[in-house]
Every structure is written in C-alpha cells, then in structure tokens.
C-alpha cells in the first residue's frame, strides 16, 4: 500500500504555526507537510500539542499565528473553511465526545447525514452500509449513552465517514477501547483505505504498536516536531529496533533520563495477612439490565490485581461497589475483612480510588487539588506540605503545579488523579483505567511507582487497564465481559492455557468465544466483497452550499426535539409547571387588601367611641385585635408588624362631638409597604366619611348626604376584581420565563459537554445551528400559550374579548423573543450556572418589576422606565390586556406590535453574531 508519497501535493501544510492558550505555548513554530493519501500518525507524550495541531487541521480552532493549509487552502479564510469542511471529518478526543448520548445510533447517523446535506435515500444507503461494516446494524435503536466505549468509537467513525471525506482526522480514537474493539477499528480503517485509496488519514495515538502500522509518522514534543518519516526511517535514524525505543531516543536528554525499564520483583505474600479485597457473588442490576453478574475474586494484601475487559463490561461498576459508592444488588464485598459499609469512614481512609472519568476540581489548581485531598483524608497538617511536594515531584507535575486542570491534556490530568488517590498513603488503591491517555514514558513511571508501593509498602493495587503490556505486569488478572468474569489467573498462565502467542491474542480469543464469534480472524460482519459497501457509495454530489440550508437547520431541530422528548421530567415541568404557576399566581396575586389587623387605643371609652371602632371592625377589610393599652403598647405592636392600623380616639371624644367642638381621630398606618398603606388610607377615609354621615342621620336626625360629584366607571373590569386583571398579565410573565429558561442552557451545555465541535467542523452555519435549536422551543412555548389561554378562559372565566388572531400573533412574536433571549444568555457565558443566573436576572426581575404588571410603565422612573419601555414583555402585556380585557384587535394594538416586531430580529440576530464558529 506504499504510495509514492512525495508525488502528491501535501494534504496539510504548516508554516510557522504558533498557538498559545493564555500564557501556555501549545505549538511553537511548526513547519511541516503532511503527505496526502497516506496514513499519518502523530506520536508524542501528553501535552505536546498533538490535539491542538489536529484541531487546527480540521478548522475547529482558530489559527493564531502562521499558516495552516488544509486541502490546498488557507484555514484562516472562512470561505475556504466553509467550502472544505465537507471534505474533512474530525473525531475529537474522548469516547463519543461529539455524539449525543440520549439519541440512538440511527438518530445520530441521520443527524450527521443531514448536516452534510445528504438526501434521504442516500442517507439510508450509507447508514446501512456503514453499520453493516462496523457491526452496529443490530443496535440501531440503542441510545449512545448505553454503548460501550468501543462501540461509541465505531459509531463516531461512522458519523465521520458518512459524507465520504477526503481527509479523516482522528484524535486518539482507540484510547480507552478494549483490544478486540481496537483491532476491529483499525481493520475498518484499513478496508476503507483499500476502497478509497485517495483518502488521507491523520491520527494521534498513544499506542506505539498502532503507530508501527502507519506509513508516515511525526514525533512531537513541547510544541515542536522532533522527527518525521516512515516508522522504519525513525528506527534507523535512532538506531533502535522498536518504535517505543525510537521515540524515547528522540526525546531531549532531560526527558529521556527519566525513563527506566520497569522492573518487577516477585510477589511474596506476607504470612497471615489475609485478603485485602474479598468479593463474593457480587451482582448489580440497574432495572432489568444486569451490569455485574455474580462476580467473585479475592485479592491478597500487597498484590497487584488487574481487571481487563471492554468498556461497559462492568469493571467500573464492580469497583464502585467495592468503594461503597454503589450498593450491590446481591453478594458481599469485604475490605480488610470488614464488610463494605456506606458510613464506614475509617475504612475509606485506608483506600484510594481513582474513577474512570476525570473527577477532580477543574476550578482548583493542581496543587490546590492535592492539598485539599490530603486535608480531607485527615492527614497530619504538619506533613501535608512535604507529602504534596513529594507527589508533585513523583508524578512529574512541577511544571503544571499552578495550572488549572481544564487547560491540561488528558494524560496530565490522569497523573493528577492518581496522585490525589495516593496522597494519603492508602493501603489499598482501586484504580479505574489510571493510564488511559497517558504517554508511554509516563505510563512506565506510574507503573514503577505502583510496583514499588506494592512490593515495598505492601499496598494492594486493584487496577483496570486496556494495555496488554500493563496487564502482563500484574500478579493476577481477571478478564471480564458483559458483567461476568471469563477467567482469572496469572497472565502468563492465561496465555499458556489458551495456547496463544500473546496476552492480547488470548484476550481477543476469550472475547470472541464469549460473544459467539467463531471465525478465527473474521470480523462479525465481514462483507463478501472486501471492498465493502463504502466503496460503492458515489462521492457526495458537491453542490454549492446554500447560504441557509433548511435541511441542516431542521436536523438540529429534530435533534433538540428528540433530546427534549427523552427528558420527560423537563418537558413535564415546562408544560404542567406553567399551568401550576398560572394557577398559583392567578389566584394568589390579588390587590384586594382584606382582613387587616387593627386595634384601638380608646382614651374615651364611651359608647360613641366603641361605635366608631365597631364601624371599622364590621367591614370585611378590617379585623379588630384586642385593644391597645397605651402608647407604648401601640408602638410595640405596630413595630412587630402585628397591626397594620392603629386608631387613636382622643379623650372626651363623645363630649366634644356633643358640644360641637372640633375633635380629631388619629389613624396610624404601617407605611412599610407603601402600596398597602395607601389602600388602607383609602379605606379609612371612606369609612370615616360613612360613619359621619350615619351619625348625622341617626343622632341629629339630619339627612343631607353630600351629593355624589363623581360617578366612577371601572372600564374593562367593572367589578374591579383582581383576577381578570391579573390573568392576562401572568401570561406574558410565564411566556418569558419558561421559554428563556428552556433555551438558556442549550448552547453552553454543548460547550461543556463537547458536542459544540459539530458546529465548528461541519458545514452547518451559526444561523442554521441557532434557529434549528430555537424552533422546538418556540413550538413548545406556543403549546404553553394555548394551555394558558385555555386556562384563562375555562378555569378563570376571563373571556377573550378581542381578536384571538392578534393575541396569537403577539404570542408567537413574543416567544421567539424569549427563546432568543435564552440563547443569547447561552452564547456568551462559559458555565451553565452563569447562563442560568443571567437568564433569571434578565427575565424575572425586569418582567416582574418593570413590565407593567403591577405599576404601569408610564409611571416608572429612571433606568426602570428605560428598561420598561424597551422591554418586549411590556408590549406583549399591553397586547394581552388589550385583547383579553379591552376587546381590541390588530388595529387597536398596532403601537404594541411594532416594538415586538423590532425585538424579534434583534434577539434572533444577537446570538448569531455572538456565537463563534471556531474555538479561539
């Protein structure tokens, strides 16, 4: 398959490329050509810039300095990126990182097919072909979140290949994948290249045995290229016989000196030390799914016990049961002879655990993480500092001591995790794939460390791994598949019993046996034609990209809608929650002030003064508390908030009235809620007047009521009830808050979880991406609107007096605004919390206070008035009230529609402008 590499124009060309993240230099002046139509490998330790280089090639990251030419065009030029991205496929680092976990395999593939503009029939044909080739056909309906790591990577590859790329960029595609899946993966690539000889493949890998198979290699270190050429050339150049050795020889002296071959003293069991771990018949079920099925093993103190198996086979679940994180469904686990108990803090101090995913604080520096762990494990404070320094030194973290883990590559984060698990000098280490993603040198260092711990300090180590050379270093290993242990024993013994040449071969044969695959070297669905279906696909018809593709946008809509449907809790909250809020607020907010507590300080104590008090107590507004004793009592009870009103009737009240002398009743109103105070004042004035008139009629026999000079007509709401006024104002409030909150996390979440990369490297444009995402929420919000309107009419008996069409149009415009606002908050924040909080601040406060729900906007002042007048909720509120209460239509509400019409393009456009199409 060796093509004359130099005869073709290079597929990628770097000219003096530099890249920095903040102060860290990731790439330091790279100038190189990557040959076309070849299988090219990037090798090197962690954090030397391999991933950065790949993301530059794919256009996922913006070029800072120098020139990157991919497929004969400058990647700094957006037009070229747009044109060329349909010829590139990019698989980022991490298992299934750009896939959508709640969607099925089929749905993921359909999604990517649509992004690249394939017709329906074409999509079907390719999906079927790819799945048949990869053996995924039987699992099309399975959600990606439930796939094993190997299957995720195969699916990732299918998604990358769906549009027939000319350049395939793979960032550590087989890291964390079991040997069988790994061999199947490379097999697939190999056949693919036979079918499409013109395709270029660029791969970063941590496996030297994989790199050995590539045609051309680039060895990198510290942001620079050390050497490049074919594996044979590299070996010759360094006078070594393996690529592992060649790579170590290429490294600068400082790094090389650290490397020593791993030596393993024989394991000597200390007499009578017993088992560190004793697991019997451990079983864990999640619903109907049996994750771990009757697993038993005993690990002696000081032993290194390896756990091998494909991803998702139950290794991690078993480990979690041993740490007490998960309670077993049945079976018993004992640590140091004691059963594992959730509340056993003493045992936890003796155990160190490292989980598969990075589980340290990304907001703390490496040093801070170590110190925190040491303190939490209750280490002697005097020793912490020296112990942490020791760990930093041992795990080679000095250079990154004060860095944030987020900025560091996987390998260094893994080292940190391991350091944290060991910092408190535990007697037992449970390590879930500790060396996954760590470069060979660092891996050897880590293993030497573990071996020393085991042999010198009798630390028991229970470790899972995918690397066969690491498995060979274990005292004993277990092979696990689909929840059950296949075999346990010394590695050499397993190889011998199986009659295999290597552990890898033995492992693969065990797995095949377990999975019922008979053909010795066969692939589960090896196609008859070695060229396979993939070759039969005609290249995707290259059409000019339309500025806005409905299909691509629609694929995002479908995806978002599916994710929403798979999250029934959120959906229910969005629909029923709105109804509930409407109910609570509709009934709850009432401005009728009733049952106010008042008390009387009666200095007179006559029948007339009693009569005055009774006049108040008899109304529905007031409720009389026991009388006041004196001024101090009045002061105290008003202060505590017990009384809203205190009436002070002066001495000689009745006598003064009898003599016609002027006398005045004092009324003290609690002013701490001004609005309530004003209402109370209104009530009092009216009742005082009423009492006077009644008294005049009764006592003096006079009857000349003052003529009513004013006749009041309450318009739109003749009974002046709160409900008809409140219900139409609650609708805008809810249609602002709920839709904005629904969209608020949709972009920032993709950023946190990594699937945003699909925006960066596929032809989808920012507007297609955002509008596609917005649509399902607009529809959901309109559903909400219908629900609210039905409730208003049916439940609250607030009829729609005006034009329903006007109301609905207003609602449509408004929910486009509110969902857009959520997206806006989501585009420029970095964390989900910040997006959430910003959305709340941007909706709850202005809507409740400035949109005119309680006080009309025309009466607001200062910034509040500015916010109120420009805030679209204000205008939709006017539309709601206009239609519900005032019987208006489009014509009468034109003044409110214009601002809404203006707000829509602004709020839709702003996120599009703010969103970036590349990582910077």
């Amino acid at each position: 398959m060796s093509l004359p590499l130099q005869k073709l124009a290079p597929v990628v060309r770097f000219e003096r490329v530099r890249l920095r993240y903040g102060k860290t230099v990731a790439l330091d002046g790279i100038t190189a050509d990557i040959p076309a139509a070849a299988m090219v490998g990037l090798i090197g330790p962690d954090a030397v810039g391999k991933s950065s280089l790949l993301s530059l090639i794919a256009g996922a990251r913006a070029v800072q300095e120098g020139r990157v030419m991919t497929l004969e065009g400058d990647m700094a030029d957006p037009r070229h990126r747009r044109a060329v991205c349909r010829r590139i496929a990019y698989m980022p680092q991490g298992l299934g990182r750009n896939l959508y976990p709640t969607l099925s395999i089929e749905e993921n593939l359909q999604f990517f097919g649509c992004l690249f503009g394939l017709e329906q029939a074409e999509r079907r044909r390719r999906i079927d072909g790819l799945c048949r080739d990869t053996g995924l056909s039987d699992f099309l309906a399975r959600p990606v979140g439930q796939l094993s790591g190997g299957m995720k990577q195969k699916l990732g590859l299918c998604c990358a290949l769906i549009h027939d790329p000319d350049l395939l960029v793979l960032d550590e595609p087989t890291t964390g994948v079991d040997p069988l899946a790994r061999s199947q993966f490379w097999d697939l690539i190999r056949r693919l290249r036979v079918a499409r000889p013109g395709m270029s493949v660029v791969v970063a890998t941590a496996y030297m045995e994989e790199a050995e198979q590539f045609e051309w290699l680039m060895a990198m270190n510290a942001g620079r290229i050390l050497a490049s050429g074919s594996p044979a050339q590299l070996r010759n150049q360094t006078h070594t016989d393996s690529l592992d050795a060649a790579f170590i020889a290429l490294l600068p002296e400082a790094l090389r000196s650290r490397h020593r071959p791993v030596t393993i003293p024989a394991f000597k069991e200390a007499a009578g030390s017993g088992f560190a771990i004793d697991a019997r018949e451990l079983t864990k079920k999640f619903g109907a799914f049996v994750a771990v099925n009757r697993v038993s093993f005993q690990i002696r103190r000081g032993e290194i016990f390896g756990f091998l198996g494909s991803n998702g086979c139950g290794k991690s679940t078993t480990m979690k049961m041993l740490t007490g994180l998960l309670p077993p469904t049945s079976g018993v686990a004992q640590l140091f002879g004691l059963p594992v108990r959730v509340d056993d803090l003493a045992t936890r101090r003796r155990v160190g655990y490292m989980s598969q995913s990075f589980s340290l604080y990304s907001e703390l520096s490496i040093h801070q993480n170590l110190v925190l762990a040491a303190r939490l494990y209750g280490m002697d404070p005097a020793q912490i500092s020296s112990r942490v320094d020791e760990m930093v030194l041992r795990f080679d973290l000095e250079r990154n001591r004060d860095s944030m883990p987020d900025q560091l590559p996987l390998g260094i984060r893994q080292r940190l995790s391991l350091a944290v698990a060991m910092v408190h000098q535990p007697e037992l280490l449970i390590l879930d794939e500790p060396t996954s993603g760590v470069d060979p040198i660092a891996r050897d260092v880590l293993w030497q460390l573990m071996i020393d711990l085991s042999r010198k300090d009798e630390v028991t180590i229970f470790v899972s791994t995918h690397f066969m050379n690491e498995a060979m270093r274990c005292d004993r290993i277990s092979l696990m598949n689909a929840g059950s242990v296949l075999v346990t024993g010394r590695p050499e013994e397993i190889v011998r019993l199986r009659g295999s040449a290597s552990l890898e071969e033995a492992f693969i044969s065990y797995l095949k046996e377990a999975e019922g695959i008979s053909a010795p070297a066969g692939h589960p669905s090896e196609p008859q034609n070695p060229v396979g279906v993939i070759s039969a696909t005609t290249p995707a018809p290259v059409r000019r990209t339309p500025p806005f593709s409905i299909r691509r946008s629609w694929s995002y809509t479908l995806r978002e809608a599916r994710e929403l449907r798979r999250d029934p809790v959120r959906l229910t909250m969005a629909l029923l929650g709105t109804a509930l809020l409407m109910l609570i607020i509709g009934y709850g907010i009432s401005l009728d002030v009733e049952n106010l507590d008042f008390a009387v300080l009666d200095h007179d104590g006559t029948g007339l003064s009693r009569d005055y008090a009774l006049n108040l107590a008899g109304s529905r507004y007031f409720h009389e508390a026991h009388p006041l004793r004196d001024d101090r009592d009045l002061e105290r009870r008003m202060r505590s908030g017990e009384l809203a009103l205190a009436i002070d009737i002066p001495p000689h009240f009745a006598r003064s009235i009898g003599h016609g002398n002027p006398v005045s009743v004092g009324a003290w109103v609690d002013g701490s809620m001004p609005q309530r105070a004003e209402t109370i004042q209104g009530y009092i004035q009216g009742m005082h007047q009423g009492w006077l008139e009644e008294m005049a009629t009764r006592r003096l026999g006079q009857n000349h009521p003052s003529p009513a000079w004013v006749e009041t007509r309450y318009r739109y709401n003749p009974d002046v009830r709160s409900l008809p006024a409140m219900v139409p104002s609650v609708i805008p409030l809810l249609l602002l808050l709920i839709p904005a909150m629904l969209t608020a996390l949709s972009v920032v979440r993709e950023k946190e979880l990594g699937s945003i990369i699909n925006l960066y490297v596929t032809p989808v444009t920012r507007s297609e991406f955002l509008l596609g995402k917005q649509l399902p929420y607009v529809v959901l919000s309109l559903l909400n609107f219908s629900l609210l309107t039905l409730m208003a009419v049916g439940l609250f008996r607030v009829p729609v007096k005006g034009s329903l069409a006007a109301l609905s149009t207003g609602a449509l415009l408004f929910v486009i605004f509110s969902t857009g606002f959520g997206l806006f908050c989501s585009t420029f924040t970095r964390s989900q919390i910040a997006a959430l909080f910003l959305t709340l601040i941007g909706t709850l406060i202005p809507a409740v206070q400035f949109a005119g729900i309680l006080s009309p906007v025309s009466s607001l002042e200062g910034m509040g008035a500015v916010i109120g007048k420009s805030y679209p909720a204000t205008h939709f509120l006017l539309i709601c009230r206009g239609v519900f209460s005032k019987g208006l239509g489009f014509r009468g509400l034109a003044a409110s529609f214009w601002p809404l019409l203006l707000a829509v393009p602004v709020m839709v456009g702003l996120p599009i402008l703010l969103l970036r199409k590349q990582e910077t």
């Binding site: 979690k320 994180l325 655990y353 604080y361 303190r375 609570i584 996390l745 709340l840 006080s855």
Partner: protein, 374 residues
Amino acid sequence: MPSSSHIFRLGVKELWSLARDPIMLLLIAYSFTASIYIAATALPETLHHVPIAVVDEDASPLSRSIIQAFYRPRFNPPRMVTLADADAGLDSGDYTFVLDIPPDFQRRVLKGTVSPIQLNIDATRMTQAFSGGGYVRQIVSGEVEGFIQRYRATAPPPVGLTLRARFNPNLQQAWFGALTEMINNVTMLGIILTGAALLREREHGTIEHLLVMPITPSEIMLSKIWSMSAVVLLAAMVGLLWIIRGILHVPIEGSVGLFVLGAAIHLFAATSLGIFMATVARSMPQFGMLAVLILLPLQLLSGSFTPRESLPAVLRFVMEAAPTTHFVALGQAILFRGAGLSDVWPHLAALIGIGVVFFGIALVRFRKSLSEAA
C-alpha cells in the same frame, strides 16, 4: 459527627471555584448594587405621574379649577382630549383615568341638581385603579365643595381624621423597592448558587470522589451552605450599607446586626432548599426549570410584591412554609419598623425550622440521588 475542618476546607474550595468564574462574580455584584439601585429608583409611588386625561365639555371656571387640581408628582399634567380620543387612549393604555366633565356642570352644581362628572378608570391597572380612584374623587369633591363654599357657608365636619403613616411617613416606594429587591436577590442567589454547585459536582463526577473519601454527605452539604451563604451575606451587606443606606438614603431603623443574623438564618433555609432541589433535578437544564417554578411563587407570594393578607387562605397557609415569607416579614420589621429580637423571634424560629426540614430531606435524598445517577 461532622468534622468542622472538613466543612471548612470544602467550603474554601467552593469559594475558589466561585472566584474563578468572573461572569458569576459580576452577576452577584450586579444583583446587590445596580439591580437594587434601579429597582429602588424605578418604582413609582403608587400614585406617581399617573396619566390622566380630561374631556372638558363645560369649559367653566369650575371645570378649569378641577383640571388645575391635578399636578405632579402624583399626576401627569392632564391631557385635554375629545370624547372619541378618550376611549382610544384608554384602549391603548395611554391614560389610566379619564374625567368627563359634562356640559353645564358648573351651572347645575350651583342649582343643586346632580349631574356627576364621569370618571373612567382602566381597571386592568389594579394598583392605580384602586388607590387612584378614591384620590381623584377626593380632589374633585374638594374642588366642588370649595367652589360651593365660596357661594354658601357650610359648617365644617365635626370630626376630623388625622392620617399618619408610621415608619415611612411619605410612603416612599423607593424604600420598599430597595429592600424587596435585596431580599429577593438574597433568596435567588442562595438557592441557585448552592443547588447549581452541587449539581455541577454531580455532572462532573467530583462528588463521587468526595464520597470515597472519609467525608459524610452532611459535611459536603454544610460546606456548600456556609460558603455560599457567606458570599451572599457579604454582598447583601454591601448592598444594604452602601447602596440602600449610603446612596439611596433609606433610613435603617433597626439593628443591622439583627438583620444579618436573620439573613444568615434565611440563607441556611434557602441554601438547604437549593440542595434539596439539586437532589431532585438530574441535570442542569432540569434544575433551571425547577428554579423558575419555585422562585417565581416564592418571590411573588412572599408578601414583597403584594400584601400577604390578600392571599387566599390556602396559599397563605402554604406560604407559611416558604422561607421568603418569614424573611420578608422579618426584614421589614427590623429595617423599617426597628423591631427587636423580642418581636421577630417567631420568624427566626420558623426559618430555622424550615431550614432544618429541607436540610433533613436533602440529606436523606443525597445518596439516593447519587446511585440513581450512576
């Protein structure tokens, strides 16, 4: 027995993570400074710049004196409109009140025949409609009575009424608005910060790591409670002393220390509620929805926007279990009415009770929610 050193260390960790989220810090600062200022200065007195229009069909000295009786700051200068414009203006919400003074009004008043002025009120604007209607009637009656008195002498009413507002003599909304805003932001931040912090730990898997360490769930929860409460409390103090007292010149009657104590206890309840919500929600988007569903009623029904007395009995009962209800009552009592510990202790006790209950439920749910997430 929770270890205080663990709680302290973990809390310091929370503070570090907050310190490294600049947008979040900015938002917190905003909520206790600019946000309070805007809310305080925007909220009008209930009757403030009320938009009013007059249809003067009489054009007499009396009608003119009535019109002149409406002036700022309570009313915007009355707009003179025709009968037809009046309806349109009410429809589009240009004015809340329209006075229609009928033809020959003055003549009939003097003759003693009743031909009342029509007052149209936009009753969808509840606040102004209620208190404003009475006020407009009073002004008109006063003007008419005064006009009549100039022609015939009538005895003054025998009993006067002296109305005084305690604690806020001029019924300034700014005082109320500022405090309300601060109280609401304290609640919102307390809930969101703690709940989201816990949820983030779960989404990132760090909580798992904590649980294999010799640390109990109650220590994890308490560490989040103290650290986030401290941040919010500090920000609230800046808001209270610098913005509310310093810039807005709202006199604080009671003891700031007592208020801080109340706020701290309220934050214990609010942050416990936040943790409880985080154990219910399985992801951040779910938490966001839950936050809206809970915060909105908490704010609207706590008595900070509308008087609590006006709630239906059932809701009033339910809201007794909401921390905001007690915090609002307590805040108003201390800051406005200068109430002391002897007055507000029932609210403090209620807050402690609510906090303990939420904390307890959250603790029970804590581990359960973890094994569900696995």
